[in-house]
């Protein structure tokens, strides 16, 4: 059944006439053409589809579009502001915190949500917070280092 769903994606208001039971991931990727969030497992097991809903990391393959009605969604595409990369993106580049890049949007968004909560995370906290995001290439050590670097800079006031 079609419903009217209104939400913001990357600060842009969106209004959709859509079956409210459809998944957020596919609405983003298909209806809205926002392909940063990736399909990896379809069952909330890998984190490749992670986006922010009202600044909280959610698995978009596990959310219906109705559940995010009225929310503010941020995907990897919305992280850079006015053409300036977010410190996390900068740090992922600097430390080569990726290889194939498929898990990267979910990794960065998950890391963003962790740092939003707390900029004083230890390496162990970061490892713990990232543990449900899967990477098959084995970029893990560099991802952790990148998050540490970004966290340090953000504490220093870099946005």
């Amino acid at each position: 059944m079609l419903e009217t769903i209104r939400f913001k994606v990357n600060s842009r208001p969106v209004r959709l006439e859509v079956d409210g039971g459809r998944t957020l991931l596919w609405v983003l990727r298909t209806d809205l053409g926002i392909t940063g969030p990736k399909y990896g497992c379809g069952e909330g097991l890998c984190g490749a589809c992670t986006v922010l809903a009202d600044n909280e990391a959610v698995l978009s393959c596990q959310k219906t579009i109705k559940e995010v009605d009225g929310s503010e969604i941020t995907t990897i595409e919305g992280l850079a502001q006015n053409g300036k990369l977010h410190p996390l993106q900068e740090a992922f580049i600097e430390h080569a915190g990726f290889q194939c890049g498929y898990c990267t949007p979910g990794m960065i968004i998950r890391a963003y949500s962790l740092l939003m909560e707390n900029l004083n995370l230890s390496r162990e906290d970061i490892i713990d917070g990232m543990d449900e995001n899967l990477c098959r290439c084995g970029a893990h050590t560099r991802i952790v280092t990148a998050i540490e670097t970004a966290s340090r800079r953000m504490k220093g006031g870099v946005k």
Binding site: T30, D31, E43, Y102, I126, R136, R142
Partner: protein, 710 residues
């Protein structure tokens, strides 16, 4: 020219296979350059064009485009290949753009596998650049009206040495056109001492796209009017479709159904609705009852084994056995392992009535192009395969059935179609690393020297089993490889998995070596060194030992230190690791891994280190947890809930060392550092608790079972 026609290339490869060495008789279209190259580089080089224009084009703006049939799957050759070109062409690496894996634009290529992109294709690329530079020098001499000998090249310009202001850019000379001129003889490649760009850790080219979500993978391709297809799959391998009732699915608005025999696809403009449509089809399948599952597979495989090939041998096994004071005989097993790249197979196909364009997640775009043309009755010229970024592959994206499925649907519906596999399909159709068995009988004399090594490996393959220790009587026999076995052995497809066969062979060899060292009371490192003459192997072992701070002691020592070493893709690699074993639960925590490798010239040191770290991390999985469970052709692991791959919390401290060896051409980088992960953890577990775990993965249950035998 050898590469000019598909038939010729196939005939050529076939003949090579028949003659087994490269003497070709009565070959009528003879290409001198291709022949010379093949003599140097083996058959994979034979199909690659020899005209340097196929590899590069210089625009009027003085930017250079590099064309390669290789693809980028995370391994980083998008960044390192331009370094090779820039070095020999004398241009700034930032002035080089790269086009990869597009069959209409790029020179033919067998595919991206075997750690061959730098060590093999890299040679052709450098030679193309050297020849192009030589021709540019001749063109510049003409234009500037000075002798060619007075010219020197730098940063995309040809200069008059005595008057640097007298110069001309490459772009002015070529204006983006193909250069018709060729050199009679190829000038020499740069010597390593003159390298400026090679050897630099240039940052990855794909970085900005990958951290902003702009990087396009095959599933991100959008075409006007594109439909997403979901295809009906059997519940098990070998199952036959008896009937399918699509009546319910047909009620879904906008759903299209294609039924061609047992190929049933549902298509919709939204993939999730297509998926829902698929679930509405009522099916009945006839399934095979084979009794073969992940526990019975080894008996099944050993019932009848393929004829052996001999990888290496010397002396006489009987003599070696007579000379031995101690004999150790062990059987090692490893289960099927999945590639499980984060990006499942995806493809988009668009047919305009004449040309079929396919964007595909594949390691072998040219092979996929030929396959699609062949299967759909199209001429090879009318199929173009474009390869966007791959979200990992590890050997698993070679068969590329999804590309054919998309192409078939796009051609019959005359609409763009995307086929993107679900995670379950990805597991189901994976070409697994084969289950394998290794039997080793080895002997030591009373002085602690090895006299015998009788090695038989079943189903894994040859790579990595050739003997490199000094053992007077040895034989390495390979019974069936991951490639080339016809049906009846494995219950599903198997294929190359990162460093195919080498993980299996190195695991078995290193654990066996430590069991022997234990018999003599020798330190495992010393035990290896006294049986080695190969300087490269000795130096990687010593480098690893130094970094690890290995103190000699007999094993099991209780420290939990492991050791492994081997050769892969021309690279020598040694591993040391420290583990903790929980005797109660049998679980193993890897605390630290040191890996030292000699890969010859290193093109991009940070890129090479990244690959080593990736290998080590990925290798924890096949060592400790990864195995595909199945029963009667049905897979029991279809997602990451039960198929467990390494995560952040598994992370050991990883330290990598790359040895300097500038006089050796670049060797493989994407695979070697994974080969010892089974062996180094197995020997570390043995060192910790004296338990020899004879099956991969070394799950807590298997560690506990091995502990009971101590």
């Amino acid at each position: 020219m050898i590469s000019s026609s598909k038939m010729n290339r196939r005939q050529f490869l076939k003949r090579l296979g028949v003659l087994g060495g490269g003497i070709i008789i009565g070959f009528n279209t003879f290409d001198r350059h291709a022949w010379a190259r093949m003599q140097r580089t083996g058959f994979l080089g034979a199909g690659i064009p020899t005209d340097y224009n196929a590899f590069l084009r210089i625009g009027a703006d003085n930017r250079v485009v590099l064309y390669t049939g290789k693809i980028e799957m995370g391994q980083g050759t998008m960044t390192s290949l331009p370094q090779l070109l820039a070095e020999e062409l004398y241009v700034n690496v930032d002035a080089v753009d790269i086009v990869m894996g597009d069959t209409d634009l790029c020179p033919w290529d067998a595919g991206t596998f075997g750690s061959l992109s730098i060590r093999h294709f890299g040679i052709f690329l450098r030679e193309a650049a050297v020849e192009a530079r030589g021709v540019l020098q001749e063109l510049a001499a003409d234009r500037l009206k000075i002798p060619g000998g007075r010219l020197t090249a730098e940063n995309g310009y040809m200069f008059d040495r005595s008057k640097p202001a007298r110069r001309i850019s490459y772009g002015e000379l070529t204006e983006g056109h193909i250069i018709e001129k060729h050199l009679k003889d190829l000038p020499p490649l740069k010597s390593p001492s003159g390298f400026e760009t090679i050897g630099k850790s240039i940052p990855r080219r794909d970085a900005i796209e990958k951290v902003t979500g702009a990087a396009e993978f095959s599933g991100d391709i959008r075409r006007e009017g594109m439909l997403y297809a979901k295809i009906l799959r059997p519940p098990a391998h070998g199952a036959k479709l008896i009937k399918a009732d699509t009546a319910e699915a047909k009620k879904i608005d906008g759903l299209q159904i294609v039924e061609e025999g047992d190929f049933i696809a549902v298509l919709h403009k939204y993939p999730d609705v297509a998926e829902q449509g698929l679930s509405q089809i009522n099916t009945q399948f006839d399934r095979l009852k084979t009794g073969v599952n992940d526990r019975t597979i080894f008996d099944h495989l050993m019932k009848s084994t393929p004829a052996p090939e001999i990888a290496s041998q010397a002396g006489n096994l009987k003599t070696g056995e007579k000379q031995a004071a101690t004999i150790i005989e062990k059987t090692y097993l490893n289960s099927y392992v999945s590639h499980a790249p984060m990006e499942p197979h995806a493809a988009v196909a668009d047919f305009n009535g004449k040309k079929l364009t396919v964007w595909a997640s594949t390691q072998t775009p040219f092979r996929v192009k030929d396959m699609i043309a062949d299967r759909l009755g199209l001429s090879a010229d009318s199929v173009r395969v474009i390869t966007p970024y791959l979200g990992g592959a590890f050997g698993g994206k070679s068969a590329s059935q999804q590309a054919l499925e998309a192409a078939r649907l796009a051609k019959s519906l005359k609409k763009p179609v995307q086929v993107a596999w679900s995670r379950a399909e990805e597991f189901f159709f994976d070409t697994f690393r084969p289950a394998a068995i290794v039997k080793i009988k080895s002997g030591l004399d009373s002085a602690g020297k090895m006299t015998l090594w009788d090695y038989n490996v079943y189903y894994a393959g040859m790579r990595g089993c050739e003997q490199f220790y000094e053992i007077p009587h040895h034989k390495e026999a390979v019974h069936g490889r991951w490639r080339g076995l016809s049906g009846g052995y494995h219950p599903f497809a198997v294929g190359p998995w990162r460093a195919p066969a080498n993980n299996t062979n190195t695991y078995a060899r290193d654990l066996q070596l430590n069991l022997m060292a234990a018999k003599t009371g020798a330190d495992p490192l010393q035990f290896r060194l006294v049986h080695l003459k190969d300087k490269r192997m000795i130096s990687v072992l010593q480098a690893a030992a130094e970094k690890f701070n290995w103190q000699p002691i007999k094993t099991p020592s209780g420290r939990g230190y492991g050791i492994a070493c081997g050769i892969d893709a021309g690279t020598y690699v040694a591993f040391m690791a420290e583990v903790e074993v929980d005797k109660g639960s049998g679980s193993v925590a890897v605390k630290r891994v040191v890996c030292a490798q000699d890969m010859g010239v290193v093109v991009n040191p940070d890129g090479a280190a990244t690959q080593m770290e990736g290998c080590i991390t990925m290798g924890l999985g096949y060592a400790l947890s990864e195995e595909v469970r199945f029963s009667d052709g049905a897979l029991l692991d279809l997602n990451f809930d039960t198929y467990s791959i390494p995560t952040f919390s598994w992370l050991p401290t990883i330290e990598t060392v790359i040895l300097e060896n500038p006089n050796l051409a670049p060797q493989g980088g994407g695979e070697p550092a994974i080969i010892g992960m089974g062996g180094v953890i197995a020997t570390a577990i043995y060192d910790a608790v004296g338990a020899a775990v004879l099956q991969l993965p070394m799950t807590p249950e298997r560690v506990k079972a091995a502990l009971q035998k101590v």
